[in-house]
Structure formats: C-alpha cells, structure tokens
C-alpha cells in the first residue's frame, strides 16, 4: 500500500476570510447568491430527502422479512415503494451531484467567480423546496400508491391516494432542474477563464454539460405529462383514460421519453466524479480524455432514443421493440468506453487507496454489473422473463446506488477539504466505504437471483421458498444503513475537529485546488490564466510530485 497524502503539509491554517465566514446570519444564507453557499443549502435538503427515502426503504425491507409480510397492509406497502421511489429519484438522485457538487465546483473548475445567473441559482433551490413541500404534503395526507411511474389510468382516475399534490410537486421541482441545467450550459459556454479551452476542461465539467443538455431537453416533457395527469384527475378529462377515449400507452411514451434520459441525469455526473478521482489517485493523466468527453455527449444523445425499452411488454410492435433493443445496446458502448479508459488510467499509475479512490473502485465494479444487467433487460426474449421482477430492481439499484450514490459520496469525500477546509478521519472513512460496499452487495445481489427465479417487483408477499434471499437482502440493508450513517457522523465531526487541509491535500490538478480551502467568496483573488492541459501531472511542479521531490515538502502547495 503506497503512501497516502492525507497528512496535511505542516503549517496549514484556515484562511482568514472564506465564503463560510464572509457574512453571518440566516438571511445571508437564505438570500445568498454565492454558488458555494447554495450548494450547501442543497446538501442539507437532498440529505433530508435521502433520509426520508431511506426510512421508506427500511420499512419495505422489514416487511419483506417474511413471505406473508406482517408489517404493513397491502395498500400501505404500495405507498411505501411509491414514496421511496419519488423521494429518492426526484428529490435526491437527480439533484444530488449537480446541485451540490456541480454548483460548488463548476465555477471554480473553469476559473469563474460564480455561475452565469446566480439569482436564478438561488431561485432553483427555492423552487426545489416548494416542490418538496407539495410532495411532503402528499406523503402526509394519505400518501401515494401509484408507483413512481404514475401509470394511468390508476394515477389519473382510480387511485384514492394524494396524487394531485404529488404531481404538482414534481412538476414544480422540474423547473428547479431545468434552471440548473440552463445555468450550467450558459456558464460553461461563456464564463471560462482565459486559456481554459473546451478540451482543457475537467471531465467533471464535460459530464455536467452533457447532463445539463438532458435536463434542459427532457424535463419539460415530464412536466407537461404530469400536468396532464393532474388536469385529468382534477377535471375528469380523458387524455389517458380509455373509458373516455384516451390512451394509457400515450402516457407511458410521454413518461418514459423523460424518465429514461433522467437516469442519465443521475449517472453522468457520477461518472464525472470518477473521472476526477481516478487520475488524482493514480497520479496520471486520464487515458483517452477526448473519448471520455465525447462519450458523455454520446450517452446524452443516444439516451433520448431508447425510452420504449421500458415498454417491451405493453404491446408495442416487434419492429419498434427491435429498434429500441438495438439502440439500448448501442447506448452501452460509450459507457463501456469510459470504464475501459478509467481502467487504462490505472496502468502504470502510482495508486493510493484513499477513501475517494475506494468509492471510485466500488463504482467501477458495481456500475459494470448494473450496466451489464441492463443489457440482459434490453434483450427482448430475456426481458419477457425478467420484466417487472426483482431482476430489474437489482439492476437499477446497482446503477443508482452502486453507481450514482457511490459517486456522490466519493465526490463529497474528495472535495470535502475544499468545501470545508478540513480533512475527515481517514481510517474511519475507509471502514465506512468498505461497509457500504459489503452492505450494498448483500442487499442487492440476492435480488438478481430472486428476480431471475421469478419474484415479481412491487408485491407485498412472495412464495415461501424466496425467504432466505429476502432475509439476506434485509440484513444487507442494515449494513448499508451503517455505511451511510458513518460518513454523516464523521463528516459532521470533521467540520469542527478535522485536521486543516490546506489548498491541495491530495494533490490534484484541477483549478479548484489552486485556491484556498475553503475558497473566498469570489473564488480566486486573481482571475487565473490557464496554460496547462487537464490532468497534466508532468508539467505541474507546484504539485510537488516531480520525481525526487518529497510530496510532504512544504510551501509549494500553497500558491
């Protein structure tokens, strides 16, 4: 195991004035236009919804300990998985990396003082909160039992749960996403520092650019679709109700036209995080920079062309099914390009096992499994057998939790020193990372087997022969919960008691690491001028990594 560079260079002090202490009082936070503070506002709110979604998940897993499920009634069970999905997807996964890490880092990474539209950035957060309130109101006044997919006519006509406030809340939340994406696109186009050309951008920025394209093009479609569901429910219109001449399949097409690209909104930013972590802890430029950048755009584009792979069993024609199946296989190719390039980056690298790197390795392995099982599902014949089973549930949890959430937690750890100026306790953080990995696999791998053996998803009971696997899954969930709890505790602890990090503790090559930790409100005291390529470890003597120089030598890292 090679040295890690988590011991801060001697003599580090917290900067005298940074964005955290520049102004005081609750108004300075709630009326801030500083992208860094807005990122922390989002951190608080997405963590809240993560907890909420986690509570629903806990109840589901406890209920499924026994085949006849004695914890909740069947109706309540429907509400549990629905609310788990809605809270996690719309209010945690979609905002998480872009709204927390993207908001914080993009201006820093491109050498700008803020995003293009700081007030719209704050507005995005408030819109998120208002949307969240509507959904919480829905949860609190009868819940939601339609599945996060809101299939009609159950959602638009027959459900007796609080559908209308929920669709209003998600509709409103969509505008938060749209405005964030718009902000990112304009910022990346117009606010790069001198010398920061497109192909010198960190891959994290490319990933968020691609994500923003999806956000901006896809989200309006779910907005209008849910609006129509709400109108149908309120005014007894008939767009999606067969009894009035409407078409439920139209709803599915409209819904999935957004919701498939939505999963790319969830994974592309995580891939961007991994593209930052791997070169840093392999001390090597990333392999195939332009291919990784291009693959992000390719995923965003092709991702819009595969939506009906969610509808193979709803009666679409064989020709349509074949087309969508083929396109779904094609969309895997750019993802594979990334995995190959990350792995190639490790070759002849100087690898260290810091916590962010552990999350990155976890990501690669789990995303690989999740992605490959997606191809199982894209295969028409096989999908007939495994559609709507736990195989699908395991597939998307491998991607969304094993992939996106690991990327999120890894990114939080990687940039924690920059955000707070402090380091977290390394030994404990590694234990937590391993706990998360073990707990995750124990929770979700049995679900692949369950699904393949035929256990349907969204059912509150199951045949008794599936009990052992279900119990394993629930046991895993408790370990997974511990893996999430530990970082929440030690990260909070570190804000006060952690070692002072200094400007560039890892060290890493991005522009964000050339300013104080935590950064001043205006990000850089002097607008930087970029004359080096991305991840160029060779030509950066300021990092102290040149052969012969001790990485612990003082002064160089403190530009």
């Amino acid at each position: 195991m090679s040295d890690t560079l988590t011991a801060p260079l001697p003599g580090h002090k917290m900067p005298h004035e940074d964005y955290l202490n520049a102004t005081y009082g609750i108004r300075s936070w709630l009326l801030t236009t500083d992208h860094k503070r807005i990122a922390l506002l989002y951190l608080g709110s997405v963590t809240f919804f993560f907890f909420l979604g986690g509570i629903f998940a806990t109840m589901i897993r406890i209920h499924l300990l026994t085949p006849t499920g004695a914890l909740v009634t069947p109706e309540t069970y429907n509400k549990l998985f629905t609310m788990h999905g809605v809270a996690m997807i719309f209010f945690f996964l979609i905002p998480s990396i872009p709204a927390v890490l993207g908001n914080f880092l993009i201006p820093l990474m491109i050498g700008a003082k803020d995003l293009a539209f700081p007030k719209i950035n704050l507005l995005s957060w408030y819109i998120y909160i208002v949307g969240g309130c509507f959904v919480l109101y829905s949860f609190g006044t009868g819940g939601l039992d339609t599945g996060w997919t809101f299939y009609t006519p159950l959602s638009s006509v027959y459900s007796n749960s609080a559908v209308t406030p929920a669709v209003i809340g998600i509709f409103i939340n969509g505008f938060s996403t749209i405005l964030t994406g718009l902000n990112f696109i304009v910022t990346i186009h117009t606010m790069r520092a001198p010398g920061m050309t497109w192909f010198r951008l960190p891959l994290f920025v490319w990933a968020h650019y691609a994500t923003s394209l999806v956000m901006v093009l896809g989200t309006p479609v779910i907005a209008i679709t849910l609006l129509l569901v709400g109108l149908e429910r309120m005014f007894h219109l008939g767009f999606f109700n067969p009894a009035l001449g409407g078409d439920p399949i139209l709803f599915q097409h409209l819904f999935w036209f957004y919701s498939h690209p939505a999963v790319y909104i969830m994974i592309l930013p995580a891939m961007g995080v991994i593209s930052e972590i791997i070169p840093t802890f392999a001390r090597k430029p990333i392999f195939g920079y332009s291919f990784i950048a291009g693959s992000s755009i390719a995923i965003a584009v092709i991702g819009f062309l595969v939506w009906a792979h969610h509808m193979f069993v709803t009666g679409e024609s064989t020709y349509a099914a074949l087309t969508f199946s083929l396109l779904s296989y094609l969309v895997a190719i750019p993802s594979a390009v990334k995995v190959f390039n990350w792995t190639s980056t490790l070759y002849k690298g100087s690898i260290s096992w810091d916590t962010p790197m552990l999350y990155a390795f976890g990501f690669i392995g789990l995303f690989l499994i999740g992605g490959l099982t997606g191809l199982f599902l894209a295969c028409l014949g096989l999908d007939i057998h495994i559609h709507d089973t736990y195989f699908v549930v395991a597939h998307f949890h491998y991607i969304m939790v094993g992939g996106a959430v690991m990327g999120y937690v890894g990114g939080i750890h990687f940039w924690w020193p920059k955000i707070t100026g402090r380091l977290y306790p390394e030994a404990l953080s590694r234990v937590a990372a391993v706990t998360l990995f073990v707990g995750f696999n124990l929770t979700f791998f049995p679900q692949f087997i369950l699904g393949y053996l035929g256990m349907p998803r969204r059912y509150h009971t199951y045949p008794p022969e599936f009990q052992v696997l279900n119990v394993l899954s629930t046991a895993g969930a408790s370990i997974l919960a511990l893996g999430y709890l530990l970082p929440m505790l030690y990260l909070t602890w570190s804000m006060r008691y952690g070692k002072v990090a200094g400007q560039n503790p890892w060290p890493a090559t991005g522009l964000e690491w050339k300013t104080d930790s935590p950064p001043p409100t205006e990000n850089f005291h002097v607008t930087p001028e970029v004359t080096w390529e991305a991840y160029d470890f060779q030509n950066r003597p300021d990092l102290g990594l040149v052969a012969g120089a001790s990485p612990l030598a003082p002064a160089h890292g403190d530009d």
Partner: protein
C-alpha cells in the same frame, strides 16, 4: 438591482454578460418547445384517432376571431422588433411607444380569447359534466345565423352517426383546445408582465445602444409565444374547413 450599463460582479465584461443573457434565453425557449411539444404530440395522436370529432370541434371555433387574433399577434411581434431596433439606435421615446403598442396588441389578443372562451362556455363546449356537442345546434343563441346553425346541426348529426362516441372524443378535442390555448395565454400574460416591466424601464431611459439586453431577450420570448400561436391556429381552427 443593477443600473443601466453596469456589470454584474461575477462577469468580466459587458460583452460576456450580454452573451450569457441571450444564450440563457435561447436555451429557455428550447425548453419551452419541448414543453409545448408534449401537448402537440398528444394533439397529433388524438387527431389521427378521432378525426371526425376533431373536425366537428374545429368547425365550432370562430375562424374570423382566430384569424384576426393571428394578425394581431404577428403585428405585436413587429412592434416588439421595432422596440428592439429603437433601443439599438438610441431612439428612447420610440422604445416606449413600441413597447406600449406591443402590450396593447397582446391585450387585444387576450380579450378576444376571453370572448371565445365565453362563447364555448355558452355553447356547452367546456369539458365537464355539461359538455354536449349537440347543444348549440339545437339551442340557438341571439345573434346566431340560423342557416349556418342548421348546416352545423346537419354536420353534427352526420358525425354522430359515424362515431357514436363523438361527445367523448369531442371532449378530448376541447380539452386540448383549452389546454393548449390556455397554456399559450398564460405565457402571454407572463409576457405582458415582462412588457410592463420593460415599459417602466424605458420611461426611466434605461435602454441605450450600449445596453438594451432586457428588451432583446423579452423580444425573443415574445416572438416565441407568437410562433406557438402560428402553429396553434391552423391545428385547432382550420381542420376540415371546406365550407
């Protein structure tokens, strides 16, 4: 609120600020295309499935009012473009005049729409419990041309024979009519609000050849709203217009 010509703190140059504002508005308009797009898709699929009902529904719309409104809106786009031009050449008084003209024309449009909506309500064509496509032909209202009404009754009866579920399918047409024109009208009301804000600024002399970005980007928004109507008018008003 920043004053005319001043840089916001996070931009390096006025040029960067202007470029960002314009790009931001264009991207927002793209999202609006996708937003309305869902409705247009729903319309297309339903029109294909229920062409008879859609034809009858379309024929109940007043084509004079619709065409008139189209002209009004196109003219308002012209006055908006003139407002942008006036700002660019420094004719400050004209900026105010053209902005007020745009607002006035927009208000005329909304007024006509209100008249049309009331007509639909009176003719029992608002989706809901009292929706009935047979109502108007059998219940003449003051000011109706009785010959036209008789022709309409004939058409409706023929349609019912072809498609016994005309009322259900006709409700789909009118749901889309109110949904699409309603969403469009909402965007126009927002546009009117933006115009009021611009008029206030133009009275204060804010818009100069060096700084007229707000006029330009509200102009873009207004033109977009106009283009949506250019699509809505033929799709809703001009189906089966053979009479």
């Amino acid at each position: 609120m920043h004053r005319t010509g001043e840089l916001y703190g996070h931009f390096e140059t006025l040029e960067q600020q202007k470029e960002s504002a314009a790009l931001g508005m264009w991207i927002f308009l793209v999202t609006e295309v996708l937003f309305f797009g869902g409705l247009f898709l729903t319309y297309t699929i339903n029109r294909h499935a229920f062409s008879t009902a859609f034809g009858i529904g379309s024929n109940t719309l007043d084509i004079t009012l619709g065409a008139g409104n189209t002209v009004v809106l196109i003219m308002s786009s012209l006055t908006m473009a003139m407002a942008v031009w006036s700002a660019q050449v420094g004719k400050k008084k004209l900026v105010s005049i053209f902005l007020i003209a745009t607002l006035a024309l927009g208000t005329v449009f909304l007024g006509v729409k209100a008249v049309e909506y009331k007509q639909k309500f009176d003719h029992h064509l608002v989706p809901g419990r009292s929706f009935d496509m047979k109502y108007h032909p059998t219940h003449p209202m003051p000011g109706d041309d009785l010959k036209e009404l008789a022709l309409e009754k004939e058409e409706v009866d023929k349609a019912f024979a072809q498609d016994p579920d005309i009322n259900a399918h006709g409700q789909l047409y009118f749901s889309l009519y109110f949904g699409m024109t309603g969403l469009h009208a909402l965007h126009m009301i927002i546009g009117a609000g933006l115009l009021l804000w611009l008029i206030k600024g133009s009275f204060a002399g804010r818009f100069t050849p060096q700084y007229n970005t707000p006029v330009e980007i509200v102009g873009l928004y207004w033109h977009f709203v106009d283009i949506v109507w250019i699509f809505l008018f033929p799709l809703l008003y001009l189906i089966d217009r053979h009479r």
